[in-house]
Symmetry: C2
Subunit: 248 residues, 2 copies
């Protein structure tokens, strides 16, 4: 597998770009790449094939040779995740980034054991964003999913407004009628937001907000009880499979 790096600049075939900073260090000192080797470059959601043309004191020069096929789902799937304790969110970000999630919103809920102060929250998000970048690179994605946080209804509203996704599915262990499969049936390649509660679930008022104010459809994943760290991943996999994004 070719090493992959995310760049911010707009790439064009024929252009030569520099990989610097942490990535430059990683490529030159850890991977010990050499001139003539091929690498994958990802920028603006697209993948490019590059050839290394020079390595010098932590800076790697790469010439853009051509385009690579897209590694991104056509219809994005976003994950809203109730804040959970320990390193569960780390694992959730890592696994779901691999799978192809387009973006995350971590939400402090009434039953979340973990509570944020403003400073902690920013530091946490920064750390999760780094985990997402590493996972995206490992999974050979063309884009790093954005990790955001919300501590109140208005922040959630802002997140949802920014996506204008066409379906909002609220995973609900108290829902007995509408299943995820039933909700997806007949829906073709919709952009989707999946909402997963914390360990203790959402409280009644929060559930009302999601369903009544935000218009989410409450769905069950079936009769087996999944924990917060498995429910989201299972639902994302199901939606991506439904959208034919996991091998047709």
């Amino acid at each position: 597998m070719m090493p992959r790096v995310f760049l911010n600049e707009v790439l064009e075939v024929g252009l030569t770009v520099s990989i610097q900073g942490e990535d430059g260090h990683h490529f030159s000192r850890v991977l010990r790449v050499r001139s003539g080797e091929q690498v994958a470059l990802a920028s603006q959601g697209q993948g490019y094939l590059g050839e290394i043309t020079g390595v010098d004191s932590g800076v790697v020069q790469v010439r853009v040779l051509g385009h690579l096929p897209s590694h991104e789902p056509v219809s994005p799937v976003y994950l809203v995740q109730g804040l959970a304790k320990g390193d569960k969110i780390d694992v959730i970000i890592q696994h779901n980034t691999e799978l192809g999630v387009a973006g995350f919103l971590l939400v402090e809920t009434k039953r979340s054991v973990v509570k944020w102060d403003t400073k902690k929250r920013a530091a946490k998000v920064e750390r999760w964003q780094k985990i997402a970048k590493e996972a995206a690179s490992q999974a050979q994605r063309d884009t790093v999913p954005l990790v955001r946080a919300a501590s109140c209804v208005e922040e959630i509203r802002g997140f949802l407004a920014s996506l204008s996704a066409s379906q909002l599915l609220f995973l609900d262990e108290d829902e007995n009628e509408t299943g995820l499969g039933a909700a997806l049936a007949g829906v073709e390649n919709a952009s989707t937001v999946l909402v997963v509660g914390p360990e203790g679930g959402w409280d009644g008022a929060e559930r009302q907000t999601w369903v009544n104010d935000f218009g989410a459809t409450a769905v069950t994943l079936g009769p087996r009880t999944l924990r917060t760290e498995t429910a989201g991943f299972a639902a994302v996999a199901a939606v991506l499979h439904h959208n034919r994004e996991m091998g047709g």
Copy 2:
């Protein structure tokens, strides 16, 4: 959620059974159940509603009140997993048991970093079986998936023969044509075995054995590279969703 216990005896409505041993201790001393409380009993792949009629020094008496709806997939999905290092297999067993996997085969492969001697293998399987039981209980399943191990082709052959599953899908990162979704299209509720390699993948000879000798279909999960601990779970979720086992 009602506490759940797995029993070996054949249950019938009206019967009174004893929960003893570790489970009896757990119910009486940790959960501190009392007479009149309801519990879920699972035996022979079926769930029953029970009422506690007596608690005495680590032994709990339960009267069987009636049947509970099935929590098991109609079409079983089995997971063959190449041995991986660290506690990855623990997590794989736990997450996939929650999801609904019917049984596991852990396979020592050429590229597995972990190698077994006979004694270690038995102890490992016993430990994983315990993890499966705990996860099955937590997920409210009616059955504990059986965990088995294989160190050679003949043991794998024996496992596959014991299942007589109708499709055998080999997750293959070198496969570019047949996707998981394409392989499942048109197949309705087939019992399925999913085969996942270790971190380093299968070697060429192993792949040949799976495809040529065992008749597996090599499939890709799409352009994003999943790690061994995420690939199986994603594929199991996709197959269960395809079979309408995750909420229709």
